[in-house]
Structure formats: C-alpha cells, structure tokens
C-alpha cells in the first residue's frame, strides 16, 4: 500500500533529525528497522490503532517542552536492595550508577558494546520488534531500533540476588531520549527488573524480552510524576515453554503516555501477566495497548488494567487476545476498569478477542463508572471524612492490579507510594 504524502513527509522530517550509530553487530538490524519505519510511516491522527490517542507530539521533530517536577520524596524503590543503572535524559550517568557486576547476570550497555562485531544480543536486537509489527504496525518501535544509541543488554543466566533497577531521570526541559533494552533469560533462570522515572521531556523506549523454556522474568515499573512529560514505550516479549513473564506498570501523571506491550506465547504451558494501575489528574492522557498472541498449547494470559481519572483526565485501553489455530487449552483473561471521579474525565476502551481454536476459555470484561456512593456513605457513616474515604476506595480499586505483582514487598512499597501521592494531592 502506498504511503500517503503527508505521512511520508512528516516521517522523513522526523528521521532527518536523528543520527544512526555506525557499524557494529547491530548495524544490519538498524538498517532493516529504518526500512520498516520508512515503509510504514509514523502514525497519523486518523490511524485506527491511534483512534483514542493523538500521535502528533510523539512524531514531531522537536519534543514539546516539559517542566521539571521537584519532589522531596525518597527515590522510588528506596529501601529495597537493588543494583542501580542511571540514565539522565537518556544519557548514562556512571557516577550515580552502581557497579554492573552481579552474579547470575551479565549487564552491558548498548553504547559500550555496540561497536563490537559479535554479541549475544545480535540475534534478538530488532528481531522481536520486527515480529511484533504484524498484524499491526508499531512505527515508533522500529524508529527506536534504528536510532537508539544506548540502552541496557541484560543476559540472565542464573538467579541474581537483587533486582536490577533502571533509573530514568529527567533534568532538561527539552530532552528527547531513545533507549533500547534487550533482556534474555536462560532456561531455569529468574530475575526482577525495576524501572523508575520519567526519563525525558519525550521518551521513546523499546524493550525486547526473550525468555527460554522454564525461565522467569518480573518487570515492575513506575513512570515518574512529571506532569508534562511524554512517553511512548514498547515491550516485545517472546515466551518459551513453561516460562513466566509478569509485567506491572504504575503511572501517575504525564501529559501523554502510550505503553504498548506485545507478548507472544510460543512454548506450551507458558504464563504471561500484564497489569497496570494509573492515576490521572488534569491534563493527562494514558494509553495501555496490549497484544497477546497464544501460539502454543495450555498457556495462560492475564491482562488487568485499572484507571482512576479525575479533572478531565483520559484513560485508554486497547487490549487484544489472539488465539491462533492449534493453541488449544488456552486460558485468556482480560479486564479493564475505570473509576471516573468527575464529569469531565473519560475512558475509552477496545477490549478485543480473536479466536481460531475451539477448546479455549477466553473472557474479557470492561466497566466504567463513578465511585460507589453506597461504599462512600458507609465509610462516612463510620467517621471517615470524604477525602480519605475516596482515597481508600480508590486504593482498593487499584489494589486488584497491584495484586498482580508477585513480590509482596514490592507491591506494598508501591501501594504506600500511591497512598502518599493521593494524600498529598488532597
């Protein structure tokens, strides 16, 4: 199909301003990705896959300015023993980062090892992203593969004793960061990746995850509290037999967030859970787009998304379960719920199922409504003032998504954060 002129000229303008790193093992993958993004063109406002979210500020040449958010809070995951890798506006900060040596895992930076001729990540870099471009185009991810200068390459070979924390700090009002991470989990290995921070005024992040048979990976991220930042992120995960992938995202504020998660269950008995909790207040647009493909027998997938929206905030959920022919005994579940705290907020959802196998159980649900007046009345009759009562019900509502985090300490940590944020806003 021919790409319309406008899409073409806007895509060219955007690509012109970017510099592709030269040489090294990733060079062929970068060239392929560039060809992909040129063929697809960057998203336009009327694209079906961008029906609920305007892509223009993500695609334009310069990012809109984003004011910095100052907080005296302790850093995210404070008190949890973790290995920190810090990027400031997309640039690695050695001084704030820990030593990258940790038993059971090899951690390298794309910028450091990218010039080599041979690297284990060569087979994965851009490969999983390319697989995720069918049946729906994800041009921002291809752009990322082509132009990302840095990112983290993590090879999990055992069971590292502490989680790895990728910290993305934001210090410049007009920064435009592109990072590309690759995570490979070997058979029987298990790790937890934590992510935190807004990263930049505009952040394009792509994470490719390959989990071998019986491997396990947990990802927990918090996208920071900067009001004006924009982000478009992708996770492409491929799961082997009996492997487990669990991803959770907490989003608080941010004028525009588009989180895409593309999961492919390729080995029998694999499990994938993708969950998210978001609290939006004011000029806030948050989009979770999830695409889970079942291509093996007896796999389980869960999508649990909860959104609390206030003061005209917008929440979007586009979820899809695709069960390929032959993927029998699939157990697919999908729930998206929104709590609208005022009359101006909106929730837009498209919870989709596409099923080509007959012996499967797939269910999806979606609800939207105001806070339960009866529950509120009950709490108030027990002496809880309206503000804290609303917060309590909000937390209970979001709790179901936080329950998807396997590590209870981490879940408690996030819940406490959330509670403090709600209390402060009051």
């Amino acid at each position: 199909m021919a790409v319309p002129d406008r899409r073409l000229s806007e895509t060219d303008a955007r690509l012109e301003g970017l510099r592709m790193p030269e040489g090294g093992w990733a060079a062929p993958a970068r060239q392929d990705a560039l060809a992909r993004v040129q063929a697809m063109g960057l998203p336009q406002r009327r694209d079906e896959y961008w029906k609920f979210t305007r892509p223009d500020t993500l695609a334009q040449v310069e990012p809109p300015k984003a004011g910095l958010f100052h907080s005296d809070e302790a850093p995210m995951y404070d008190g949890i023993d973790r290995l920190r890798i810090v990027f400031v506006d997309g640039v690695f900060d050695a001084a704030q980062s820990d030593d990258l040596a940790l038993e059971g895992v090899s951690i390298e930076r794309l910028a450091e090892v990218g010039a080599r001729d041979i690297h284990w990540a060569k087979d994965l870099y851009g490969t999983l992203e390319a697989r995720g471009q069918v049946p729906v185009a994800r041009p921002f991810a291809a752009l990322n593969t082509a132009f990302a200068e840095d990112g983290v390459l993590i090879h999990v070979t055992g069971r590292p004793s502490r989680p790895i924390n990728l910290v993305y700090m934001h210090q410049s009002e007009s920064s435009d960061a592109i990072l590309h991470n690759v995570i490979k989990v070997d058979a029987g290995a298990e790790a937890t990746i934590l992510e935190s921070g807004p990263a930049a005024a505009r952040f394009n992040k792509c994470t490719e995850v390959d989990i071998a048979d019986t491997g396990r990976l947990h990802m927990v991220r918090s996208q920071g509290r900067d009001h004006e930042r924009r982000a478009v992120t992708h996770i492409f995960a491929r799961l082997g037999a009996e492997s487990v992938f669990k991803a959770f995202t907490l989003t608080m504020n941010g004028v525009l967030t588009r989180n895409e998660c593309v999961v492919e269950l390729t080995g029998d008995d694999a499990v994938a859970h993708v969950a998210g909790a978001c609290v939006g207040d004011g000029d806030f647009h948050h989009d979770d787009t999830v695409f889970v493909t079942h291509d093996a027998v007896n796999c389980e997938s869960r999508q649990v998304f909860k959104k609390v929206l206030n003061n005209g905030a917008t929440g979007v959920f586009q979820g899809k379960i695709l069960v390929k022919a032959g993927a029998q005994k699939t157990d697919g579940y999908q729930i998206s719920q929104s709590l609208l705290l005022d009359g101006d907020s909106q929730f837009l959802a498209k919870p989709e199922l596409e099923i080509y196998a007959d012996d499967v159980a797939c269910s999806h649900g979606s609800t939207s409504g105001a806070i339960d007046e009866d529950a509120l009345f009950y709490l108030r009759s027990r002496g809880v003032p309206e503000g804290p009562a609303t917060d309590l019900l909000t937390l209970a509502f979001l709790g179901e998504a936080l329950d998807e985090i396997e590590n209870r300490d981490l879940a408690e940590h996030l819940l406490e954060r959330l509670n403090n944020w709600l209390a402060r806003r009051r």
Partner: protein
C-alpha cells in the same frame, strides 16, 4: 453439511446445539429459482442508470436530484476494509441495478391482478400474499382462532414491490404501509422530511450507493397515539441473476405510537455472489416504540464457499423524543458475507435501545455484525445481547460501539457477547469499542459464561446444582430470552434455534 458431521466437538459443547446448527446450516431450502420473464436496466452504474431507476419508479424531480447527488458522493467514497471479512473485489460495473418482472410493467391495481407465478413464489416461501389471518407454514396455524393474529405483508421481488396486503384495514387506523416508491409518489412531504435524516446520504460507501440506486422497500408511518393493529412485515426475495438488490426502508413512529415490524429474506442458490446493500431508517418520536425483527436467510453459498449473497446493510434507529424505545432482534443465518450493525441513537431523555442477536456462520460464511449505542440524552438505557456461533470454516465477529456522551447523565449500558466455536477450523472474534465521557454513566461489558447473575447462580446452587449446571441453566435461559423476543411469525426458525446452548462458549 459434511464438514460439520466429521467435526470433533470439544467436551462441554451441547450435542443438541451442534444438531441445531447442522439443521440451520444444512441444505438451503430456499435456493430454487422462479422462471419468469424479467426486464433489466443495462448493466453498470452511471448517472443515466440512476435517472432510469428514478423514472421507472415514476419519481418527482427532487427525488431524482437527491439520487444523483448521492451518486456523485459515492464516486468519492472508498469501500470500507476494516471489517474482518475477506471477499474478492466487487466490480460495480458488472451487475444490474434494476430488474423487475415484465408483468409488473403496469402496476397491478390489486393482488388479484398480480402474475400468478409471483404469487406462487411467495406461496412456496410460506408467505402467501392473501389477506388471511396468519401466515401459513407456522406450526399450529391450523389451530389458530378464526379472529387470530393478522400480519400485513409487503413483498419485494428483486427491484420492485409486488404487493402490500391489508392496506385498507391499516388505513382505517391511520397507518400508512406501502412500498417506498409508492410513498415517494403519494406522501412526498413525509418522505422529504425523513428520508436520509437518520442515515445521511454520505454515511458510508454502501449507504451512499443505496441512496443513489435504491429501487424499492417499505414505508411505514404510524400516527400519534396509534398502536398499529397488526404486525407489519416485508419479505425480500432476490431472484434475478447478476443483480444487486438495494432496498430502502423508512419507518416513522410518531408520538406515543407502537409498531412491530418483521423482515425476512431469501435468494436462489447461484454460483456467482450477489450484492445486497440495504438502508433501514427508523424514526421514533416521544413515547413511541418500534420493534424490528429480522430473520436473515439469504443464500449463504455452497459448502465450498461458492456463491452467496454479500449482505452490506446500514440500519439505524433515531430515538428523537423522550422515552422513545427501539428494539432490534436479529437472527442471522444466511449470506456469504455479512456486514451489518443495526444501531440506536438515544437522543431523547429516558430513551431505550435494545439489540438481541444470534449469528450462526457455517461452511465458509463470514459475519461481521453488531450494534452501536450512542447515548446522548439523560437516563438513556441500552442493552446488547449477542450470541455468535461459528462452525466449519466460518468466521464470526461481534463489532460494537457503546458511546456515552458528556450530556448522557446517568445513562446505563449492559453488554454481553458470547461466542461458540464448533470445530477447530473456524474463528470467533469480539471487537467492542467503549467510549465513556461522563462519570454518572455506567457501562458494563462482559463476554464470559462465568459472569452470569450471581443471585441466580446462588439460587440454583442452593437447590443442589453444581456450578456448571447452574451456569448452563442460566445461560440457556438467557439465549431463549433472545429467541422469545422474536414475533411468532418466526416461530419456525426460533424453534430450531432454541436447542442452541452457549455451553462451552469461549467468551
């Protein structure tokens, strides 16, 4: 139906359901052809063809202009490709847009003057065009009381209406029921006011095409406060080869009125696919209620997917007044490809829209169907119940939109869509769009058998049923509810379908 016979059915799927689907999707009973002398307009679509159709229908100048404008718009529109259906490109210049039996050249003044061959056609379909008490072919008809139910029928054969029964009796009640071509001549003020007011000329590719070339269809006007004394129905028959049918139906229920309208359709079995692109517009004023039921049984193509009708239909109801109510019920068993979304615009405060659908796709059939519920007024309510069943190599998609506008305070929607797959070569898909723009609105979308009403489940379990039995009972009861919403003229079809259970449904 060899395909289904050999299908291994997964455990938990009710055998009665498989049998019922086999029965419904079995040998197509209405595939015969009426050998009758026809008169065609030349093949292809040009402004001259549009003028010719208008002329044949003896239309006034304004109607011709309206059609020509639609034709101009159609030239600028692109065929939609978003539905999950796949068919070879349609050559819009390689078919006839107008076909009528020669004997209809001079309009018969009464049913007695209609060509006996045409009357026999409808007789054979079980729709005799006589002003009798009850449609033949309905079980129990012979036992019906002499003063039994009456049904007025408008019979459309290819491009023309053959006749309309009970017109005089309806007229006494003030109800106008006639073909749309007659309405354009006899009631231009009503047609001018309402035609294209619910489905605008440029609404979508097929609606625009229909606006240019529609040949016949039915017109209903129910005056204020009148409860239509009988059921109204239109029976569409495609007979001619290589001919598209473009019917146009306009129903106006004025303040406080009530009407129940039924629609049936069949076509001969032919190897070459035929196009059917209809537009149905319903206007529901204050306190009025319209019930619209369809049993769609167009020729579905043979077991190898050869031939069949492409059914690309735009149906929409506009609840203009407060407390207006509309109910769509559809049983979709025919057509090679279905593209159909009967919708409700809930404009009046407290207005209500309901959509009940059972879509059964077999062999190589493809169905992409659902509804749109647009909530604009306060306290508007909508309910969507959709059951999709796929067998053989068929693909069945529910596609729907529930939109709660900012001013639709305290609006409510409940949606349930279930799918059932019989065999591992078919597909079942769900594509719901949900847009909630005010917080007093409540929207619930479910697509799972385990989410049946907790109270009902608890009741069943307290009577000693196990969970599975209880769920099956409640869900089955639900499916039957949909069928019972059908008027009794469809009892035959409904009886076959009652055996269908959604046990083993995949969500």
């Amino acid at each position: 139906m060899a395909a289904l016979d050999q299908t291994q059915v997964k455990e938990g799927v009710d055998q009665d359901t498989v049998d019922a689907v086999r029965e419904v999707g079995g040998a197509y009973k209405h595939g015969w052809n009426t050998d009758i002398e026809m008169e065609y307009a030349p093949k292809g679509l040009t402004p001259d063809i549009v003028r010719l159709i208008s002329e044949k229908n003896e239309e006034p100048q304004w109607m011709t202009e309206w059609r020509l404008q639609a034709y101009e718009r159609w030239l600028t529109k692109e065929e939609p490709t978003w539905a999950m259906v796949d068919y070879p490109e349609i050559d819009f210049q390689d078919q006839y847009y107008y076909a009528r039996p020669k004997s209809m050249e001079v309009k018969p003044k009464s049913l007695d003057e209609v060509d006996p061959k045409l009357l026999a056609t409808y007789e054979k379909l079980g729709i005799p065009l006589k002003e009798q008490m009850i449609l033949a072919g309905v079980e129990g008809a012979e036992d019906a009381p002499a003063e039994g139910r009456k049904v007025a029928v408008d019979a459309v054969f290819d491009s023309v209406s053959v006749g309309t029964t009970f017109q005089a009796e309806l007229k006494k009640a003030g109800v106008i029921f006639c073909s749309i071509s007659e309405a354009i001549r006899e009631h231009p003020e009503l047609v001018k006011k309402y035609l294209g007011s619910v489905v605008p000329v440029s609404d979508n590719f097929y609606a625009t095409l229909n606006s240019a070339v529609f040949s016949d269809g039915s017109f209903v006007y129910v005056p204020p406060g009148v409860r239509c004394p009988m059921e109204l129905s239109t029976y569409f028959r495609i007979n001619a080869e290589n001919t598209g049918q473009f019917e146009r139906t306009l129903i106006i229920a004025d303040k406080g009125s009530y009407v129940s309208y039924l629609e049936g359709c069949t076509a001969p079995a032919r190897d070459i696919a035929q196009l059917h692109a209809a537009v149905v517009e319903i206007i529901v004023e204050e306190d009025a209620e319209v019930k619209y039921s369809t049993v769609q049984n167009w020729y579905p193509g043979d077991e190898n997917g050869k031939g069949g009708i492409y059914n690309f239909v735009t149906k929409r109801a506009d609840c203009r007044g407060d407390r207006a109510k509309v109910m769509w019920t559809q049983v979709e068993t025919g057509s090679a490809v279905t593209w159909k979304y009967p919708s409700c615009i809930l404009r009046g405060d407290d207005s209500q829209g309901e959509f009940y659908s059972i879509a059964i796709a077999n062999n190589y059939q493809q169905a992409d169907t659902g509804t749109k519920m647009i909530h604009l007024g306060k306290n508007t309510k909508s309910r969507i119940v959709s059951k999709g069943i796929s067998a053989g190599h068929a693909q069945n998609t529910y596609r729907g939109l529930v939109s709660m506008h900012p001013k639709a305070k305290h609006a409510r929607n409940y949606t349930q869509c279930d799918s059932l797959l019989i065999g591992d070569k078919c597909g079942a898909h769900t594509v719901p769009y949900i847009e909630v723009k005010n917080n007093s609105a409540r929207v619930e979308h479910e697509a799972t058998t385990s989410k049946v009403d907790d109270d009902q489940l608890f009741y069943c379990r307290s009577r000693g049923m196990d969970e599975e039995e209880a769920v099956a009972l409640v869900v089955n009861g639900f499916c039957k509810d949909v069928l019972q919403a059908l008027p009794m003229e469809f009892a035959m079809e409904a009886q076959q379908l009652v055996a269908i259970s959604l046990e083993g449904s995949v969500g």
